[in-house]
């Protein structure tokens, strides 16, 4: 459960971007920071990346994903960041009202002075639907397989063909081999590697896993479970070259064909998306086109190293804290105007204390009950009288106007609220 219904900074997603943003926001003056995470644990996809290669820039150390995440989790907890786990944000408005639900958190409905979007990215699956053939069990994205193997402890198959030379695919090729599975080959439709060279060397070459460039899957074979895939060589325009087909028996096909920023929520909030990156248009403070909504990490564009995601999160967190402070200052300048004795309502409902530095503030009100004798119309800060005006009578059908003069400036600065009353003279 959340402790408040209004936060300085709310961060969507507790991956590396979100965690860094949360820490930076607290370090830069945000009083309350809440991170909402849909998974049951903090750290995002880092928790299933048990291989090393993380933190070389940030910590000058070669860490596995969970260790890299833990450093940020510890810092965030030290800084008093609040977390909501196993909770899915269903909707964010452009006014930064957030609606989320979770099995344990129930219904969450709160407002943020600023928001950092850090939902990360998801695996591309479009390639999957372009592959003709049957729809048996055994076709997974590399990330889904990674979750099964590294987090849940299950092997999704024993003989694999991996389509796509993205980093997760190559890392999974090694991981599955270490688990005793057989990776027949990695296929890449492009004539070049799409992941990092270091992963090619450490994950494929070192384990004698063949990489076939300019190759793709032509057909998936198998009714219930994958039984084989038919591969084919392609020309430079991705057209299959007849006669180059090969049937490779396997029980699993993994897809590692790229990542795309995940921005369904951003769109709901009215955030404009760059069709090229798939992520929001941002300025140098990582603010989107919607004031007070920031975005950081793979939700903006897909990074090659997690260190840069953390750095982007840090910058967005600083910006979000500053924005929240401005909103808070503005909120603090507003004094509520309350309907007191025999007053039904007052308009405006709130006034900016600073207005009186320049001009008087005109209030309009209606009474509850008629008084057919002379009355005082009064504004008070608790018992202190701030402004008063006489009327011969007060009737619900007639609006009464009252001005707070500029001379009341000092008294209004001290007030938490102002109360209107209409009383018999």
């Amino acid at each position: 459960m959340t402790t408040k219904d209004r936060y300085d900074v709310v961060i969507i997603g507790a991956g590396p971007g979100g965690l860094a943003a949360a820490i930076a926001a607290r370090q830069n003056g945000a009083e309350d920071v809440l991170v909402i995470e849909r998974d049951k644990e903090l750290g995002g996809i880092l928790q299933q990346c048990i291989h090393n290669g993380f933190g070389l820039e940030t910590f000058q150390q070669d860490l596995p994903g969970p260790s890299y995440a833990q450093r940020f989790i510890d810092q965030a907890l030290d800084h008093g960041v609040e977390f909501l786990l196993d909770t899915m944000v269903l909707d964010i408005s452009s006014q930064r009202r957030i609606f989320a639900t979770g099995k344990h958190s129930g219904i969450v409905d709160l407002t943020a002075r600023s928001v950092v979007l850090s939902m990360g990215c998801r695996e591309r699956t479009r390639a999957q639907i372009r592959i003709p053939g049957m729809r048996p069990a055994g076709v997974y994205t590399a990330g889904t397989a990674q979750r099964w193997v590294n987090v849940e402890g299950f092997m999704p198959g024993s003989r694999y063909v991996i389509l796509g030379s993205g980093d997760i695919g190559m890392i999974m090729a090694r991981r599955l081999t270490l688990e005793g599975a057989h990776v027949e080959r990695v296929l890449e439709v492009m004539p070049y590697l799409t992941g990092l060279t270091r992963n090619y060397v450490q994950c494929l070459m070192d384990f004698d896993i063949p990489l076939q460039l300019s190759h793709t899957v032509k057909r998936i074979i198998g009714h219930k479970r994958v039984e084989a895939v038919e591969t084919v060589r392609v020309d430079e325009r991705w057209n299959p070259i007849p006669g180059s087909e090969e049937i490779i028996p396997c029980d699993t096909m993994l897809l590692s064909v790229g990542l795309i920023p995940e921005n369904e929520l951003s769109r709901q909030a009215g955030v404009l998306i760059d069709p090229l990156t798939g992520g929001p248009f941002v300025d140098d403070s990582f603010q989107t086109n919607i004031p007070g909504i920031f975005a950081a990490g793979n939700v903006v564009h897909v990074y090659d190293l997690v260190d840069w995601v953390s750095e982007a999160g840090r910058l967005a967190g600083i910006s979000a804290a500053r924005f929240a402070a401005q909103v808070r200052r503005k909120e603090n300048r507003l004094v509520p105007l309350l309907a007191g004795e025999n007053v039904r309502y007052v308009v405006p409902h709130r006034m900016d204390r600073e207005t009186l530095a320049e001009t008087p503030v005109r209030l309009q009100l209606r009474v509850r009950q008629p008084i057919e004798s002379p009355v005082w119309v009064e504004v008070r800060n608790r018992t202190n009288l701030i402004a008063r005006k006489g009327e011969l009578y007060a009737r619900p059908g007639e609006i009464i106007t009252l001005e707070i003069p500029t001379t009341a400036y000092d008294e209004v600065q001290k007030a938490d609220e102002l109360t209107l009353a209409v009383v018999k003279r």
């Binding site: 639900t101 099995k103 994205t141 990330g143 092997m155 219930k224």
Partner: protein, 493 residues
């Protein structure tokens, strides 16, 4: 040997509707299906359209069942609690040369008894479907056409049957009939023999094999015709109508249709295949359906596709029995004299979904004619209450649901917004959804942009927990389609 009054062979829409309508009477009924769920054949892969009935040739059983069946869907969806929308359909003529066909179809529809049809002008069509091909020359409007959720229509019929006493056995494959002389007195299956007084052949793509076992219509043959479809991304393009091209010799043609799940859909083509399980999608097939779809809506492109699938039509070769009508692919709904005890249904291709409830009533009529007393049960309940779909509820209803059961607060499929509460409800429903695809058909989980890569491990976990089985035993669509092969080495430590 356990004995029943009626055994229905096949749990597609026809079998399930037949069981549901028969459950009204004092009969002991068994429904069997070889798959791990009901409705996994043609009922799970079709256009989801409740056809108006202008398409079948007048005088055929197809035409009669279509129009009778169509009229039943409003009541049916109300009683059984599945989604159905009688939003009408269009046959769209492109270019002046196709206009004549509209008049022919209009006349054919009138002869079949389709109410309310008329031809609308090109401008009217453009205003009703702004994305339509600008070369549109007119359209036939059939207000009684509709779209339905065919998965839940089948499930709901079966669930209502079960609620009224019908027994459903899955993974139970028909092998042969048991005879007493010529009379059928039972059914032999992979799990044992069952006695019966009536056996209903509702085996869909396998109806020919089943009737041949009874020695009926040896010349009848089902030629599976594969139809490929593409489902479009909901966010990318809105199509709110059901649009057919003018039909050709090869059938109703490639259509563009709205679905009740919110995604537009294009297809199907029509290819003859040998194997009744060959629902593979092909490159050529995809090219064909996009070309067909673009004829109606030129802005449609394969880029919009979010999923592709193929279904198989049970295309038969039964001649129409009405004198003077030459049509060789009619429905078969009969109680053949040579095999007493058999209710024989075959060749139920499109409009089979639409016709299913009328076929069920026809079966009841035939049983009555054959001397069955068919006493009504006083406690027969035609109502099957729907289960909530979180995504489709207004915010206040969602909040109520979460308050009543927090599992509705846990979203498992983020693209389609399907919650743990919904999944668990399906796993424990009267016809339990015991595998991933069964849950997918009922909740639309895993059909969004990520194609299930987010929800899959979570659903496997839920299925394992709720069914009390190991995660390695959880399947996509029954035995042999397990997701996982074994535990990792970490478990040994």
């Amino acid at each position: 040997m356990k004995a029943y009054d009626v055994i229905v062979i096949g749990g597609g829409i026809v079998g399930c509707m037949t069981a549901r309508f028969l459950s009204r009477y004092r009969l002991n009924i068994l429904l069997i299906d070889k798959a791990a769920d009901i409705g996994t054949g043609a009922s799970a892969a079709n256009s989801a359209i409740v056809h108006a009935g202008y398409d079948p040739e007048p005088g055929t059983l197809k035409a009669k069942m279509n129009v009778l069946g169509n009229a039943m869907w409003d009541t049916l969806s109300g009683e059984l609690g599945f989604e159905y929308d009688r939003r009408g359909d269009y046959v769209v003529a492109i270019g002046p040369e196709e206009l004549d066909t509209l008049d022919k179809l209009l006349e054919q529809g009138r002869r079949n008894g389709v109410p309310g049809m008329h031809v609308i002008l090109a401008d009217e069509m453009r205003s009703r479907e702004p994305n339509i091909n600008p070369l549109v020359s007119g359209a036939l409007w059939a207000p009684t056409g509709g779209i339905c959720d065919p998965f839940m229509a089948t499930v709901a019929a079966a669930e209502n049957a079960v609620a009224n006493g019908v027994t459903v056995l899955l993974e139970t494959e028909f092998q042969d009939f048991i005879f007493d002389g010529a009379r059928i007195v039972g059914v032999r299956t992979n799990v044992g023999d069952f006695g019966c007084r009536w056996a209903v052949n509702a085996a869909g793509l396998y109806a020919d094999q089943v009737m041949h076992k009874a020695g009926v219509r040896p010349e009848f043959k089902i030629t599976p015709r594969r139809g490929e479809y593409a489902v479009l991304d909901r966010a990318e393009l809105e199509v709110n109508n059901v649009l057919f091209p003018v039909p050709s010799e090869r059938g109703k043609g490639i259509l563009v249709t709205a679905t009740l799940h919110g995604n537009a859909m294009v297809g199907p083509n029509s290819q003859i295949v040998d194997d009744a399980e060959d629902s593979a999608v092909t490159n050529d097939g995809m090219a064909e359906i996009w070309e067909g779809a673009q004829k109606l809506i030129p802005s449609l492109t394969p880029r919009l596709a979010i999923a592709v699938f193929a279904g198989l039509r049970a295309h038969g070769n039964a001649p129409c029995l009405t004198p003077g009508v030459s049509h060789n692919h009619d429905f078969i709904i009969e109680t053949p004299r040579e095999a007493p005890g058999l209710v024989n249904i075959g060749g139920i291709e499109s409009p089979g979904l639409t016709s299913a409830p009328a076929i069920a009533l026809h079966v009841i009529e035939m049983l009555r004619e054959a001397g069955e007393k068919l006493e009504e049960k006083p406690d027969w309940n035609p109502i099957r209450p729907p289960r909530p779909h979180f995504r489709k509820l207004p915010r206040e209803e969602q909040m109520k649901l979460i308050k009543a059961d927090p599992r509705f607060g846990r979203v498992i499929c983020r693209c389609e917004m399907v919650t743990e509460g919904e999944i668990i409800a399906e796993i424990h429903a009267p016809i339990p959804a015991r595998n991933y695809d069964a849950i997918k058909r009922r909740t639309w989980l895993g059909t969004g942009r990520c194609l299930g890569s987010f929800d899959m491990p979570r659903v496997v976990e839920i299925l394992a927990e709720e069914l009390g089985i190991a995660p390695e035993e959880v399947t996509k669509k029954g035995p042999g389609s397990e997701f996982l092969t074994r535990k990792t080495k970490a478990w040994e430590a």
